[in-house]
Amino acid sequence: MRDRIEEIRKLGAELVAVGTGRPEQVADFIENERVNFLVLSDEKAEAANAASIENASVFRLFHPNSFAPTLHAWKAGHRIGTSGRRVTQLGASFVVGPGAEVHYEHYDEHPADHAPLAEIFAALERTGVESASGVPAPPA
């Protein structure tokens, strides 16, 4: 998703990541991965609990549907980095705002499941926020 961050910003939005590790791990992640967006530490799972993010059973962590995407990611050079405090916590993606309106939510079914980028961008366009260039986002 971070490869598309400029497109996200052109739609007047921002990307924010929440991890399970300590702030020091966040700092290492930002430095090692050259991250150019906000990353927050949710080491006590306060945000994860508020967002109803699930912890996976062993069966979901090693779900057969995760095998092919994991292998594909591995071949593409992606590696799993430092794990945080909750290795069984699954991921999730939301499009929120302006205000408290939730435009999109995706709860990962297994570790290799991620929100389709097309769905995230469609949700961003539905927010109707003007882009940084002053051009309104197109209607859905």
């Binding site: 996200i8 739609l11 007047g12 939005a13 921002e14 990307l15 924010v16 990541a17 929440v18 991890g19 399970t20 590790g21 702030p23 791990q25 966040v26 700092a27 290492d28 992640f29 930002i30 090692n32 991965e33 906000l38 990353v39 927050l40 530490s41 949710d42 306060e46 945000a47 508020a50 967002a51 109803s52 993010i53 590696r79 799993i80 980095g81 430092t82 794990s83 945080g84 290795v87 916590q89 699954l90 991921g91 999730a92 993606s93 939301f94 499009v95 929120v96 705002g97 302006p98 205000g99 408290a100 309106e101 939730v102 435009h103 990962d108 570790p111 929100a115 995230i120 961003l124 926020v129």
Partner: protein, 39 residues
């Protein structure tokens, strides 16, 4: 997901500065991604 409940939470950034989540999306949309791991 209830953004009002989630927005009431504050989290630390890499520098240890507290961020109220609701402030992040008060004036603009945010793509909020919960990671399983760092990197």
């Amino acid at each position: 997901m209830d953004a009002k409940s989630l927005g009431a939470i504050t989290l630390n950034d890499a520098a240890g500065e507290r961020k109220l989540l609701a402030d992040l999306w008060a004036d603009r949309p945010v793509v909020l991604v919960f990671l399983r791991h760092f990197g």
